[in-house]
Symmetry: C3
Subunit: 343 residues, 3 copies
């Protein structure tokens, strides 16, 4: 059961070329590719002739050519060439999906293409500002339902347990962080402040602080699968919390795009934009490396969590205080699912 | 659902010795072996005592001995020895299958052994003529229904797409080849001519031609799983097409034996007999190598095709003009299946 | 379907420390661990918060801490700490199992912990006597139902087929061994004598004999999964059989603990205690190595036997004379299962 009427990240724009990519989204096998003129496209990855995957084919001047018997399809899935015959029957077509490229991302709408409203695509200008926000990105396949990955980002108390030696540090500071949550039209926002605390290992390694730091984490969840994340740390008591002075320390913007693959797997597309050491490419490389190390720690836990849920279901589970944002997020997903079932 | 009343290739004769082989055919786990006197045999690969696979056992003077507790079976599946007891109950037996060795092949009849008519086994004399037709053979496991492999050989327009850099070359010549099809009692025959065309890469590498070639492909399908294939090329306009002069160029005979393993896997037994460079063993080695390279290209496509069919079925697929032989072949298979269901 | 009201081997005592181990027993995923004070414990391996496996967590002073959000559990499965909140709801708990450490083994009772009677745990004093019975142990995962492994040990005629080059030797001597079987309250005992025979390969390599040997195998099966095994060989006709003189040759005691993992897999815990060369550690190492080699031969057969049974069931299987102890053992298991179903 997937939310279909939504924009998901299909690919990083610079990962998609004329060589077709096979990728399953919402349990539909897709072929993603660019046409000879550079337009991104997505079709069901199954030729309407003998069911060979179109992702084994190649892009020609006239369209995507099946690698088995040479049928050619345009970006709307209409067959435009059948070798050896002039007549192309109207039934010669495959399903196509709406695809839009924006902010370095190829977005896909998994519902009816006619209903795809480009205005609903999240804005993420930080991907278009290489001077202030140089960024690096990653695609992590995760063997867990996408909502488990969103869960993970909605309850940051896990930082002190899962990421103790990386981005977490002391568990208590995360549990006791000041947290303000706000519901939005399309999800929720929350801000967390950890004041006058030790910098965790990866932040301390990225920027030199004299002593304690004030640290913030701002998260905006836009259902179903996008989270904008702004995190930073500055010397303690220098006005970050009460006066909004956030420069001069550590600062990154992280984009999280979580796309369902199957009921028990997803793609975790994330980028990290460096807002503290823009002139030094090595800091961007290191920020990416340390984020990847931390997110790989999440992957281990979430994949095993999925295994337990697959086998044993959700019976007898309890919610705890730190689940509030997570529970709100899940209600939003359920409302969207209900809406699609009614219509 | 398999056609049982038919002879399938079980093994190459020279691959079968007294060391038992476990092989699944028509989804029945079999043990194939030769007795101490060299007779080929096939039993269900499950001892009637504790269900251990008989393929873990060994051939003794008295029969096939189970490797767990030593029961011995003859080639009809009757238990002839139980360690520690004289009386052998009548229930001590395993199912056996009719097996016949002919033309370098061990053939198996998967239906009632009483109905196995040796006269129905295909004749393939080219396996018995090492001077004119030296041959080399291969056993390729393929993770696809056997009919998808037969499909592949019934529509040669795939050569220009799947095999463009090997045996195919220019797609257009295959699409435009002259093709004559003839139905036969047990399947169909077709002949294709590609006249005055460039030799494809593997043929050009095997034989030196001055210029263009005339090229033929003769296929005879004998249901359910055998195809005899004669292919060649000679200098263009030297009488191959209209006068039957086919010597002096490139010429091979390929035997295709396709045996169901499960509903979604098969064994592709093929041989290639060298009819153009018999005195030079290196040409046989190279013909085998290049055929294997090409057939491995088919394997990739067919296995992925199977995955799509397994997941999505055959809905909304269309037939095209080049499918005519394939469709006829499928009708033959369906008639054979229907006949077994009625009786 | 498992017998739950029984003690199974969960682990070797010296393999269990404060680092949690994930282990499935009777198809229940468990976390096994020792507390900070060294007490062995077993809980269902699923946190009651978000279903993360507790085996990813760590042992703290206060209990087993979940590695995701830090909930802490005591050995009874009661949650004793939830980060960020004082109130711990009564529903915050996971299932626990009775665990007792005895004779170098961690035993687990898979039924109601209230019904766990420590008096039912098998006595195995040979694990506590390093001077007379130095031992080495092993944990072998086997992809077969545990009863197939017990079957194996109840019919020793397999020695001459499965272990012909190791502990078996001549098949005939095993088939013709004198065997006396006795039913017991909790299973059965049998003793086998092979008199005036050649020593099999591993025994001949361990101890030098002048000529033929008298060889005994004493087995005691205690349902559902323990077998005590005493085996030895002395020079033939020196009184072993009729006067009970068993010293001076080869002698080992083997503990077999067979614990169900799933319906088609088990853990085979075994130890071998050296009763003939106690002063030479190399003989213990070699006894362990040769037993492991032999038991690995069993593993191959049993795993393939399971595959056949999974696919084809037990239809048309026959019992033979050498099955008598095996059949009696199976009746005992069935009685225990029936008893649990009634209550």
């Amino acid at each position: 059961m997937f939310i279909k009427d939504a924009w998901y990240v299909a690919s990083w724009a610079d990962d998609l070329g004329t060589t077709p990519i096979a990728r399953r989204i919402c349990d539909i096998p897709l072929v993603l590719y660019r046409t000879a003129t550079g337009e991104a496209a997505a079709l069901v990855d199954r030729c309407c002739h003998r069911a060979a995957p179109l992702s084994l084919g190649k892009v020609t001047e006239t369209g995507l050519e099946c690698g088995y018997h040479g049928l050619v399809f345009n970006t709307e899935g209409t067959c435009v060439h059948i070798p050896g015959q002039r007549h192309i029957p109207g039934t010669a077509k495959v399903q196509s999906f709406a695809v839009i490229e924006k902010d370095a991302i190829v977005w896909i709408w998994m519902g009816d293409p006619q209903a795809a409203d480009a205005g609903l695509i999240v804005d993420y200008p930080f991907h278009n500002d290489p001077v202030k926000w140089p960024f690096r990105h990653e695609t992590m396949p995760i063997k867990a339902n996408y909502a488990l990955m969103v869960d993970n980002l909605m309850d940051l108390t896990h930082l002190g347990y899962v990421h103790v030696t990386t981005i977490g540090g002391n568990p208590t500071v995360h549990v006791e962080a000041k947290m303000e949550t706000e519901r939005t039209d399309r999800g929720l926002k929350f801000t967390r402040w950890i004041l006058d605390a030790d910098a965790p290992p990866t932040i301390a390694a990225a920027v030199h602080f004299e002593g304690k730091v004030d640290r913030w984490q701002e998260f905006e969840f836009i259902a179903p699968g996008v989270i904008k994340h702004w995190a930073g740390a500055v010397d303690a008591n220098t006005g970050a919390y009460d006066q909004g002075i956030r420069e001069g320390g550590f600062m990154v913007r992280i984009f999280h795009g979580i796309t369902p693959e199957t009921e028990t797997s997803c793609f975790y597309f994330w980028s990290i934009a460096n807002g503290f050491g823009q002139d030094d490419p090595a800091t961007s490389v290191e920020a990416h490396r340390s984020a990847k190390e931390a997110f790989s720690e999440d992957k281990v836990v979430i994949e095993q969590q999925q295994q337990r849920l697959t086998e044993m279901g959700e019976h007898d589970l309890i919610d705890i205080r730190s689940d509030s944002a997570r529970v709100s997020m899940r209600r939003t997903l359920n409302r969207m699912l209900d809406k699609e079932r009614i219509t």
